[in-house]
Subunit: 336 residues, 2 copies
Amino acid sequence: MTSPPPSRTSLGTGAEFDLIRKLLGPQEPLPGDVRTGPGDDALVLEDGWVLSVDLTVEDVHFKREWIDLEEAGFRATAAALSDLAAMGARPVAVLLSLGLPRREMSETATALQKGADQACRREGIRILGGDVTASSGPALVDVVALGRTDRPLLRGGSRPGDQLWVTGWLGASAAALHLWSQGREPGPELRRAFARPTPRIREARWLSERLDVRSLIDLSDGLGGDAGHLAAAAGVGILLREEALPVHRDVIRTISDRDEALGLALTGGEDYELCFTVEEGTLEPWIGPFQETFGIPLTRVGRVVEGEGVRLEEPSGDTRPLERGGFSHVQAEDDR
Amino acid sequence: MTSPPPSRTSLGTGAEFDLIRKLLGPQEPLPGDVRTGPGDDALVLEDGWVLSVDLTVEDVHFKREWIDLEEAGFRATAAALSDLAAMGARPVAVLLSLGLPRREMSETATALQKGADQACRREGIRILGGDVTASSGPALVDVVALGRTDRPLLRGGSRPGDQLWVTGWLGASAAALHLWSQGREPGPELRRAFARPTPRIREARWLSERLDVRSLIDLSDGLGGDAGHLAAAAGVGILLREEALPVHRDVIRTISDRDEALGLALTGGEDYELCFTVEEGTLEPWIGPFQETFGIPLTRVGRVVEGEGVRLEEPSGDTRPLERGGFSHVQAEDDR
């Protein structure tokens, strides 16, 4: 596995990433005991420790009309643990910071903790610390996910000719969000994809033990956006094939407009599936065993090409650039 | 250095600690690669990595009438780094999560980041990651401080007969807060103690290299509260001597009521000085060299006794228990 040196500029496009670039400040050498810094899914330390943090704020990432606080705690924690999956790390512990609206601090803490604890237990770990405070505003959960791996799976190893694959089905979480925003109630599978997502921790480790995974990322910004991160990190282009996208069946059933359903799968975000590149022809033998082991498919969705950015190949054979590939909590809010 | 096994029950009293205990859930063995868990100032991992997280919320921990956002970013980061000081760890990096009020996201991010970066640079480190999102409420900063030490200084090693010491002067930050809450403006030294506190990182390492520090904590909850944590962690009592408390001179000058000034030094919180125990007679030779090196005093403020809890010895020789020793952001807000 080769990868370029960690770099701020290996983030894709979008307002959120511009802000993150700004936060990180000028690019400088990493401390001696830090192996991989800004620009990947998590910080990799000497001795294989992996560290990531994920902030969830009520009314930005979830609303109480959609899910309860226990589900919000679960979801925030699963999202943070997904960053460990994206590094091929095994989870060790979680630190949980909670901001609790006054007047309901104890109930809020209990519900958020319960959900976070469930997400931890599912991966065989638990909450080992954190911070708790009152909030004059909405509830918030900041989750530090701590893991370990001898062999981190980075973003930057793709080469032209490689194939791009994803695990599972796409668009379900975004479809739930889309339906709620229209005042409709999503069905149980779509709802569950949003409220209780599954970080693909075992899946990432299974794959990396069996084949040379060139680069890997978890789908939090949408396939378009995250493929853009992989492309930027390796200095290559990625061509996605529209017909290949594994759109979740309930998305197809529920969202009648075909382009809209496709858009949710392509740019919706927060699927928490894995997106990765391998050398051509190396993954096919493992499709069956993977499906048998985890009950979800592996789907080839595109390929790595010379150039830069992400393009979509339509059924006609025409290709078009994906201008803004991903979902952003920051997008467009800064200019009001 | 001996210390009891990490334990949830080694936290002192108070609503905030009750909530933290609740968050941590039932007590269970630590994972194999975690050395010290809940109940100390930070998580200690195999290979000497030390990890802590500190959440700051606007209008709870600071108001913009008091300090600007750059100072808020500095203060939040210094507070998190102080947890590394409390473990005797050298800082390695910081992860910064920001919640940014809509309509002013970019300015808020820039100011908070600038202050956080200054606090990092002062310790020779920098921000190496984090998360950023919009907030429907107040600005918030969650700082993950990452450090390393071969020899963590824990809370639980005190024995009856040991002496209790603190670095620097007490009460300045709490006095600034007190004055602001009365509509008064604190002088520059009090203001600075609140806005730009100094984590005593070098001081902790200097001390631990020269003598057997039995237990150590940073003063974030106030001397009374933090001494209570040391007492609880070691299963001992602590007797503080009122006359010995190194009350900051500007607190004495500004707060005319003597008991009030004393109360700020004793229970005010957020001094970020070190509070530690050593065997009787071992520290005295180092008082002069410490003062010369760091420009602040070492003051003996009490002693470790058989029993439990913290008591205050008044000038008359009478002693009284400190019922609630510390400052809590949670206290009393839950019952409304």
